[in-house]
Symmetry: none
Subunit: 415 residues, 2 copies
Amino acid sequence: MQAEIISIGTELLLGKTVNTNTVYLSRILVSLGIDLFYHTTVGDNRTRLFTVLKRAMRRSDIVIATGGLGPTVDDITLEIIAQATQKKLNLNPVVLREIKKHFQDRQIPMPKANIRQALIPEGTRVLKNEVGTAPGLIIPCNEKKVLIALPGVPAEMEPMVQRDLSPYLAKNFSGNWVIVSRIIRITGLAESQVNQKVKDLLKSKPPLTVGIYAHTDNIELNITAKAESKSKAEKLIASLERKIHKRLKKYIYGTNQQTLEQIIAAVFSKKKMSLAVAESCTGGLISQRLTNISGSSKYFTLGIVAYSNQTKQSLLGIPAQTLTQYGAVSKEVAVLLAKNVRQLAKTDLGLGVTGIAGPTGTTKDKPVGLAHIALAAPRKILYQEFHFHGARAAVRQRASQAALDMLRRYFAKQI
Amino acid sequence: MQAEIISIGTELLLGKTVNTNTVYLSRILVSLGIDLFYHTTVGDNRTRLFTVLKRAMRRSDIVIATGGLGPTVDDITLEIIAQATQKKLNLNPVVLREIKKHFQDRQIPMPKANIRQALIPEGTRVLKNEVGTAPGLIIPCNEKKVLIALPGVPAEMEPMVQRDLSPYLAKNFSGNWVIVSRIIRITGLAESQVNQKVKDLLKSKPPLTVGIYAHTDNIELNITAKAESKSKAEKLIASLERKIHKRLKKYIYGTNQQTLEQIIAAVFSKKKMSLAVAESCTGGLISQRLTNISGSSKYFTLGIVAYSNQTKQSLLGIPAQTLTQYGAVSKEVAVLLAKNVRQLAKTDLGLGVTGIAGPTGTTKDKPVGLAHIALAAPRKILYQEFHFHGARAAVRQRASQAALDMLRRYFAKQI
């Protein structure tokens, strides 16, 4: 089964709205094992919408159109669908009653324009809109093809997809197979390095495929399996996952949507240890990420953003001489930040980060992206030097990721 | 002039990534007065990408393709563009040198795979990628048409659009009229409150329109004007802007893409004052936002994330009795955080924030979203209580915005 999505609305082409509907619908289709080959966005223009609809109906089994179902003259979806499918528009009494009720409930008289929304192509199955006035439509085009129209407002569209459309597609189009996905998250390697290690796996063909995607602070390997049952698909995934783990080992920190701060939160709550952070170039980002997690106050007691040398001296006891001799961005300062914040907060662990986020503050020996990260633990000090690339925000994000990853690896004894 | 955008990448069809590139590019095209008629998203599939590219080149004058320029085997854009335009791929020595330099700068050996990124269709004008390895391409197809390929990573794509592509399009393709947009940013009011105050303006018709968009921590009013010249469009905008300023006054903090931290940075560099922050519920977010700005070390000297009562006592001198009597989330503690962090860092200003970000940590009197914010200044203390709605991340974002806004208003004497 092949599907495609058509988003209708000039506001999308003007860049006024981010198209989140396609993301939502794509995920629904993936979960049903329906292949999605195209997204097309087209404005509120009769000729172009007609052409796009006709092409979609030729090449796809399921065409989902969103938007353009409102009451204004700009909203032409119903009219063009009727033309493209050669179906008559009839006033649907059930839909009209629902629209009238919508306004009665709000004690507003129904504007005349809204009557248009009840003009529905013949043979349509109507999906109730519990939030607004535009109904959803399932329009069978022949024994095998279907055209679906949904309102463009996510709060109106999503409930009817969940309640009606998704079960309808599962029953009629989902086929006998299931798609399962699993993301492996990797940090500490560049995309090209990961690519090098799993090059052969990236060439895998369906039913088992792997894709590689680079984010600012992590690389994802996305495994997708297609099988007759969920358990078979999961077995396929597990086999590939084992291979990936063997090759990337300690660089793997999580799966699916897991973040490093979540992983760390889980470890801390098991180990009953505590943490303090002294950060410079990351400017509070590490503290902010740690405290993204509700309940982090149980292990994270203190974060210090030591942005000036004076603070580094007075509050964190970095000797003036160390700052002069090695500079604020140095191994020596990172180690002292970690040791001293640990002492100051009386925690089990102390994390110290100093670096150059750029674009200002560089020197000849100390380019943008240089970072020194240290972790002071009860009986040892871990330390590493990094060179991150990218603009200020990327350097800060990558440095915070490396610092949290040092913490994760300390617990996993993988340093 | 007609343009269209093609987004390339299976991850987009799988709903893994929200397509923000099209929004960015659409806005650029709008600002240049170039009509955009289609967005198409297609996966990493040779046949489908070829067909989509060919169709786009037939019907549009400007085709912008994003994505698929990476070094992996999935990345097929260069190859298919060469086929569709019937141009040879040549190893471009300038591009290859840039890619090699990228890896040298990071002290990583260049993986062999990256050589592919230097295979460029003949006759191409190359756009330098200052962040990553994939260059942008401007490929003239005949005297009137052009095919443009850009990397899919926004941080790589946006700088080259700003620096090179936008001026190129303006020079070669911009029509006879100009569209100018201006965003007015508002904080401290709900969307419905802003709506109430500018209801009549929201009904304005072209050539001068206003849209309202709500973000987590600010409301934007987006004014768009269309005219024969930039100066005429700007005059139209200025007239409407004056009306909006009269109605929303102190709630307006900036224009276009300005952030509160940028506004504050500008004031601090004028006033030569300094700032320290003690934050609890925002967990480092305020420090992180302040230090988003390069050069913020000149005024921001210390941030303390006091996540435990013990730290509040030992480091920030909040008496145990105050914590017991009023609780950590109280006016009294917010004021002491502000006063004491100011003293500790010897700065001109001290900001103190305490609150409940949720979902845990609430009590009967202290619901999720409660926040106390105080600003200690040389001769006075400002204080306000807030009730934010939303989940943890939204509450934290809104609290950080309110704290920074208190700072802005202090300088503008608008409290």
